[in-house]
Amino acid sequence: MSHAKPNDPNLSPGSARIGLVLFVMYVLLYAGLIGIVLFRPELLSTRPFGGVNLAIAYGMGLIGAAFLLAIVYMIACRMVEGSPASRQAASSGGVRKKQHRD
């Protein structure tokens, strides 16, 4: 992928960038729960969605979000890796890696 830095042979074409974006999204969600537990614990007893309290809803939401983001990642990777530009970048990356061994 053209975004991959040429001096960084470890970055896989395309998928690494998507992975990082999704990773940051999840970190913010996870940190959000820890932040509420530490600084605004009283919010966790509220019932923003009716039935269950925020503590349960957020916890279940984090587990669901991990799965949802994983599916998004899988689909996005398939789209990126399927594109002609990506296949070309991947093959040139292979050449670059081979040159290192030489």
């Binding site: 614990p41 269950v52 984090l62």
Partner: protein, 581 residues
């Protein structure tokens, strides 16, 4: 409490163990290559590998520990579930594909792929062994602890049974048989936890469950006399005079006024009904005098609202100081960063054929493990109000809950608890075997090995590790080991994650930087743990106040320390020329 031995549990467990050992011999009957022994030829289907991730990862701590913690303390056990699952996000988005691309058999392969440095090999192999052994001890002690109440055999028998079975499984067909054992265990565990959850929801909530007479709400005292005799309320303990089971609902929500039971409930309705109920949990208090050590178990009425918010186990969250809060944040950070640094998880990426398969198997792993952790919430809460809890042992919550439905289910859940231990221990021994034979003997000491010798060396290492695991399982039998899993996560995250992340994302990373980060991360986290208040109190039996570190969980300090050390040492060492261009 004293338990009836279940012949059915023994039968189910025996059938399972004999089947997997038979399967291992079947899989191992062909001659084996190193690629086959260490990485299952890279031919495991991604779906099977995904379920095997669950079998590898969901240890006894996950199954019995979390259910018990939720049953005793409420929501805080679920925080562990959330943290354990979140770690998989790091594995999927950051680690999975590079690990698969850069390595061959072990985690050290990946970290060392650009450098060929003896320092990296030694440091990473050592950290792999340290983490694996810290993780092995609680698994083996857990096996010993479980076998007495469930199968009626002594502690040592449990440890030896698990040790011998796992060593046989690993030695016969290496990663191939390990994968299939983990696949079978993962499937059984999630399936039967699902069945149990459906039964819990179908039963709904019952006021004062636990038989016609219900649970008597008066304190009970257990005494251990200096001569080892056990008394319950002053009389010798026996099967007819034992601690009463505990954990009940005192009153249901107002919408069920006048009813003794809610009837079947949906998954969300169950949680909201618990929240609006009044529940009787049990506290324990110890005191010692000349007659022995007395533990008094007393009923405590609590609202469901209190139980479904944090603070039951992590008491510092509601009343505590800054250091209590930092301790909690540090634990959640270690859980988040530790999963993707555990050697027995990382080696599973070498069993699939390519990066896409590594990615897909992680997604399957997340789905199965996530579903399991949602189920643990229902199992834990179901046990909390089942009227069947053993006040002395939170680990028995899930099997005892199953017993309230049928003795067959109890036998199945008990047998599965053992298979849980088998799956995780086989993964750990496999990781340690690779670290010894591939990283240390072949790569660090540069002893030339043919393909056949490399497999033999791995098998010898596996037998050695199996013996070490059994010895430690017996030696640590009276030791409070539940927090050793937390130690393993902290050490793995501090030693391995900074090196791996920086290698992938910072081109200036040098071999000296990686070696220093792994060594400092491992030593600093271990030292911090040995100096912490938790260790002072639970291991040495000293006062918590004597501890010289501000909080017990090291991750909040030692994970960033690993990054800082790597950056500083990399800047101080020559630029890595082979990585540019």
């Amino acid at each position: 409490m004293l338990y009836e031995t279940s012949p059915l549990a023994i039968a189910i467990f025996s059938v399972f163990v004999l089947s997997v050992i038979g399967l291992s011999f079947f899989l191992g009957r062909k001659g084996q290559s190193a690629q086959g022994y260490y990485a299952a030829h890279g031919e495991i289907h991604w779906f099977v590998n995904g379920i095997a991730f669950a079998g590898d990862y969901l240890s006894a701590a996950s199954f019995l520990g979390i259910c018990g913690m939720i049953a005793f303390y409420g929501y805080d056990g679920f925080l562990y579930s959330i943290g354990f699952l979140a770690g998989w996000v790091v594995a999927l988005f950051v680690i999975a594909e590079p690990i698969k691309r850069l390595g061959k058999f072990t985690f050290a392969d990946a970290l060392d792929s650009q450098f060929n440095s003896p320092g990296i090999k030694l440091a990473v192999a050592t950290s792999t062994l340290v983490v694996s052994i810290f993780y092995l001890i609680p698994q083996m002690v857990g096996a010993g602890d479980l076998i007495s109440p469930l199968l009626g055999l002594p502690h040592t028998a449990g440890v030896v049974l698990v040790g011998v079975s796992v060593t046989l499984i690993v030695v016969t067909a290496g990663m191939v048989s390990t994968t299939w054992v983990q696949f079978i265990k993962g499937s059984l565990l999630v399936f039967f936890c699902g069945v149990l959850t459906v039964m819990i929801l179908n039963r709904g909530l019952i006021v004062n469950a636990g038989g016609d007479a219900g649970v008597e709400l008066k304190p009970q005292v257990k005494t251990i006399c200096p001569d080892g005799m056990r008394l319950i309320d002053g009389e010798p303990q026996s099967k007819t005079h034992d601690l009463r089971p505990v954990g009940t609902i005192k009153s249901l929500p107002a919408r069920y006024a006048g009813q003794a039971s809610t009837g079947p409930l949906g998954p969300l309705a169950y949680l909201s009904a618990i929240e609006d109920s009044t529940i009787v949990t049990w506290s324990s208090k110890k005191h010692t005098d000349v007659q022995g050590v007395h533990t008094t178990y007393s009923p405590v009425e609590r609202s469901g609202k209190d139980l479904l918010k944090p603070g039951g186990y992590f008491k510092g969250l509601t009343t505590g100081t800054l250091s209590d809060k930092l301790d909690f944040a540090s634990l959640m950070l270690a859980l988040f960063c530790g999963t993707a640094s555990l050697p027995h998880i990382l080696i599973r990426y070498y069993t699939v054929k390519d990066q896409a398969a590594a990615r897909k198997s992680t997604v399957v792993g997340i789905a199965v493990i996530g579903a399991f952790y949602v189920l643990t919430l229902y199992l834990g809460l179901g046990a909390m109000v089942s009227g069947a809890l053993d006040p002395t042992s939170s680990n028995m919550a899930a099997p005892l809950l199953a017993k309230t439905f049928s003795t067959t289910l109890f036998a199945i859940i008990s047998a599965i608890a053992f298979t849980t231990v088998l799956g995780t221990v086989s993964g750990l021994i496999m990781a340690g075997s690779g670290a010894v034979a591939h990283d240390l003997v072949e790569n660090y000491f540069q002893i030339p090995l043919s393909d056949h010798e490399k497999v033999r060396c791995g098998k010898i290492a596996a037998v050695g590790l199996g013996i070490v695991a059994m010895v430690l399982g017996v030696a640590f039998r009276n030791f409070n080991v539940s927090f050793l899993v937390g130690w393993a996560f902290n050490i793995a995250a501090s030693a391995n994650l900074p090196a791996l992340v920086m290698l992938l994302f910072w081109p200036r990373t040098t071999k000296q930087g990686i070696t220093a980060a792994v060594s400092v991360g491992m030593v600093s986290s271990l030292t911090w743990i040995l100096l912490s208040a938790d260790t002072f109190e639970k291991v040495y039996g000293w006062s918590r106040e004597a501890s010289i570190v501000p909080f017990s969980q090291p991750g909040l300090v030692t994970i960033p320390l690993g990054f800082v050390v790597l950056i500083v040492v990399s800047f101080l060492s020559p630029r890595p020329t082979q990585r540019t261009g």
